[in-house]
């Protein structure tokens, strides 16, 4: 066992997969230089320029080339420097990668992984802070993973690389170096689509993912200490597919649910979670299915206090828990 940050765990996961299977390659802007967040430090020396491939600044081409390579037996990991820059590749991801299997009647598939840092909290302004998961969770044929812990990141990345489907792998950039966690020495994977119950509780279910997992855990501890509230916290870990079974069973047990997400409120992935809960376990509910998210403004603020004002944080989550508990 060794203690790793999330970005170190991701680096190790890619490294081990590239060692294990020579079909796996990494391509993206500056990956040969180690990558903007140092996720591919040393890869060029270890694997050479044909398996650690620097690309032009052209995201559509990065993903398009990855899809083409994948149709010819390669398993490419395409790194997009920031999730905000994935938009030029939207067409390749949605129209090509996600649909090739279906529209070829199961003949072809694009087993690519598109890795990209997402999310706010680093004062990155409008081009380095966006949450993009909801756009892609809408698309059948694509899997969408959102990681925010070192252990999960490594296990889910390995599962994504081995998955025969295209996977969009979203790494919360604020979580890259947030803390260290023990990582087993031996190989392991985590199935995509399984949530993690981070904290068991009886009075309310809190469903979240990404950086909000850490904020929600803090909030749950605060309301336990100050208000004696016993909150169950679930980290979805992936939004497509997502773990309805664990979420619905939890809400049926607790009777109240708060869905917390960093994205804009309207049409964010939490809206899908809320709708499913309202439809499937209505009889168990003792309060309104409640969402806490960012208001419908771009995460455009470079200034710390403005960004902080927009994003959910432990204090805002604790308040939302108390309000719902009092219902």
């Amino acid at each position: 066992m060794a203690e790793k940050t999330m970005v170190e765990a991701i680096r190790d996961g890619m490294f081990e997969e590239m060692k294990r299977d020579e079909r796996v390659i990494l391509m993206g802007e500056d990956v040969g230089e180690g990558g903007v967040f140092r996720a591919s430090e040393g890869f060029l020396d270890e694997f050479g320029p044909e398996r650690c491939m620097d690309t032009p600044l052209a995201e559509s081409s990065i993903v398009g080339a990855a899809i083409g390579a994948s149709l010819n037996g390669v398993i490419p990991i395409a790194e997009i420097q920031f999730a905000d820059f994935s938009h030029p590749a939207f067409d390749q991801i949605v129209s090509e990668a996600a649909r090739i299997h279906y529209r070829s009647n199961g003949t072809w598939s694009a087993p690519i992984v598109v890795r990209t840092p997402y999310g706010a909290g680093i004062h990155g302004g409008p081009y380095h802070s966006q949450s993009i998961e909801a756009y892609y969770a809408h698309v059948p044929g694509l899997k969408v993973v959102c990681v925010a812990t070192p252990y999960d990141a490594k296990g889910l990345l390995k599962a994504a690389i081995r998955d025969p489907n295209p996977v969009l792998f979203l790494e919360h950039k604020k979580a890259y170096r947030l803390y260290r966690e023990e990582i087993p020495d031996e190989d392991y994977t985590i199935p995509i689509g399984e949530a993690a119950v981070k904290r068991e509780g009886t009075e309310m279910t809190l469903v979240t993912y990404g950086l909000m997992v850490h904020h929600s855990m803090k909030a749950a501890e605060t309301v336990e200490a100050e208000d004696g509230l016993d909150i169950e916290v679930i980290d979805l870990r992936s939004v497509s597919p997502w773990d309805k079974e664990v979420v619905l069973a939890s809400v049926a047990k607790t009777g109240k649910v708060l869905v917390v997400y960093e994205d804009n409120l309207t049409g964010g992935f939490g809206a899908e979670v809320a709708a499913t809960i309202a439809q499937e376990v209505f009889d168990h509910l003792d309060g309104p299915v409640t969402r806490l998210a960012s208001p419908d403004v771009p995460v455009a603020a470079f200034a710390g206090p403005l960004e902080e004002y927009i994003l959910p944080n432990p204090e805002k989550i604790a308040k939302a828990i108390r309000d719902l508990a009092a219902y």
Partner: protein
């Protein structure tokens, strides 16, 4: 030399759009403008948090 900024500056000179002195004067002017803007921003008071809601859409009667 693949940097498009450097190549474009060379192209401008080659085609007689501007000479080296004019380009240098322009660079100096821009550097001063950026410095002044940075200084203004560094010294400006922090915006009110509620201002994040402004300018998502064009406001009624505004530009």
């Amino acid at each position: 030399m693949k940097d498009p900024l450097i190549r474009f500056a060379a192209w401008i000179e080659e085609h007689g759009v501007a000479d080296r002195n004019e380009l240098n004067a322009l660079r100096e002017k821009i550097a001063i403008e950026v410095d002044e803007a940075s200084e203004y921003a560094e010294n400006a008071p922090m915006a009110e948090p509620e201002s994040v809601f402004r300018h998502v859409y064009v406001e009624e009667g505004g530009a």
